[in-house]
């Protein structure tokens, strides 16, 4: 257990050969980002859990078709997002984003980048409220690309659209957000 986790490509190769330990390891590496992505789409922990489980089970069945050397995360996130969207469609309703800032966790858990100072609480509430008011598509784009820090490729996979479309959707979403915040477009 103290060993460093093996490289993902090696884990994938082993999982392809049918080693369940390797696949379990892969799930552990990606379950948090997968679950949060599903949650951004379903906004329900139960639905997100189900969607993520089903997605990883389907991904396992599809492993023999997974191209060696390809990045696993965007691939599995596309499956997760698809499962999540199916649940949203069948549920027919969505709760609000209902995210809160983890005040008590901030000192040791948050890892602020050196260039970005921690947000003051007023700004955080403002941003969250503005995100809540966005239309679903724009909110998902913002949540995937910035809140979850997915790459453009992963965001495209999660939103089920081409990568070029992600850029334009994001730029429109940011504009809407600025409008919601009552701010001028920045350079």
């Amino acid at each position: 257990m103290e060993d460093r986790p093996p490289h993902e490509a090696e884990l994938l190769a082993r999982a392809k050969r049918g080693e369940l330990d390797a696949y379990e390891e892969i799930v552990r590496l990606h379950q948090t980002i997968a679950f949060r992505t599903a949650w951004v789409i379903t906004r329900s922990s139960a639905d997100a859990e189900e969607a993520t489980q089903d997605a990883f089970v389907k991904a396992h069945a599809a492993l023999p078709r997974f191209r060696d050397g390809a990045p696993f995360r965007p691939w599995v996130l596309a499956i997760v997002a698809n499962e999540a969207r199916n649940r949203v469609r069948s549920a027919g309703r969505r709760a609000g984003l209902a995210l809160r800032v983890a005040e008590e966790r901030r000192p040791d858990d948050a890892v602020p980048s050196p260039e970005a100072a921690l947000l003051d609480s007023e700004r955080r509430e403002q941003l969250l409220a503005a995100i809540e008011r966005l239309p679903d598509g724009a909110r998902e784009a913002i949540a995937c690309r910035y809140l979850l820090e997915l790459s453009e490729e992963e965001t495209a996979a999660a939103l089920d659209c081409p990568r070029g479309t992600v850029k334009s959707r994001l730029s429109r979403a940011l504009e809407r957000l600025r409008a919601e915040l009552g701010e001028e477009v920045q350079a």
């Binding site: 696949y23 922990s45 800032v101 941003l127 809140l147």
Partner: protein, 262 residues
């Protein structure tokens, strides 16, 4: 990156996301059997059968040329998950060595990861050590019991009792035995389930992992063994005990899930 984008990124890091449940174990339980085994069992089984047939034809040819030596396989017994062959000629005896049992774990964890509910023989009490081998479709459980007054040590395992359980329906020919003429092979029915009692002279035993051909280095000498179909499971009990004690231990596993009505 604009200020707004930076602030959004920062916001994401400070958010109280709903806690991620541990999905690895339930997912693992659902993905057994492994895709390789599920996708190609028929081919592997067939290739193994062809290889075995070729070997037997070859052996038959060799033996036919030697006066007094007849067919290699004299008898064949099959359960779902296990086969026993009686041969008049066995390969050279492998050295006794401990059984390959997989990764050590707990019963609670085994319950989570196996593709079946683990059965513990009440007559033997809680096992001393629990192992799971996840390379087998559905997983294979091994329960080890140290030797005791009730369960004398078997030379083959160094244990009082070794219980192996796996999904016989998913691994039709997983446990394989080769026995010579001095070994008793008794097929019988135990509470409506097929069983085979193999005892007397030590015999050879090996598990053939899915997708793998037979390898002689996997051969192990086994002592007295009860093989039992138990619902979807194949249960294998190995020890130095007699048939009556083996049956008593097997009965204490409880009824298969399909028959549990009362």
């Amino acid at each position: 990156m604009t200020d707004l984008e930076r602030q959004l990124t920062q916001l994401g890091r400070e958010l109280d996301w709903p806690p991620t449940p541990d999905l690895a174990i339930p997912i693992r339980a659902r993905v057994t059997p492994a895709p390789v085994a599920r996708r190609r069992p028929a081919i592997f089984r067939r290739s193994f059968a062809i290889a075995l047939a070729a070997l037997l034809v070859l052996a038959g040819g060799v033996f036919a040329a030697v006066p007094g030596v007849r067919h290699s396989v004299l008898d064949f017994f099959g359960l779902r998950g296990a086969t026993v062959e009686r041969r008049d000629h066995l390969p050279p005896a492998p050295r006794p060595r401990p059984p390959a049992v997989g990764a050590r774990t707990t019963l609670a964890h085994a319950r989570e990861v196996l593709g079946f509910v683990p059965l513990v023989p009440a007559a033997a009490g809680p096992p001393d050590r629990v192992f799971v081998d996840g390379r087998v479709p559905g997983g294979r459980l091994s329960l080890e019991y140290r030797a005791s007054r009730d369960l004398p040590e078997a030379k083959s395992t160094g244990l009082g009792l070794l219980v192996d359980e796996f999904r016989g329906d998913l691994n039709p020919e997983y446990a394989q035995k080769m026995a010579g003429q001095a070994t008793r092979i008794e097929p019988f029915t135990l509470d409506g389930e097929h069983a085979i009692w193999v005892a007397g002279a030590p015999h050879f035993f090996f598990y053939r992992a899915p997708g793998n051909a037979f390898e002689e280095r996997r051969l192990r000498i086994a002592q007295n063994v009860l093989l039992l179909e138990h619902g979807r499971l194949l249960v294998r009990l190995e020890g130095a005990f007699g048939r009556a004690r083996a049956i008593e231990v097997a009965r204490s596993l409880g009824a298969p899930a399909s028959k549990r009505k009362k």
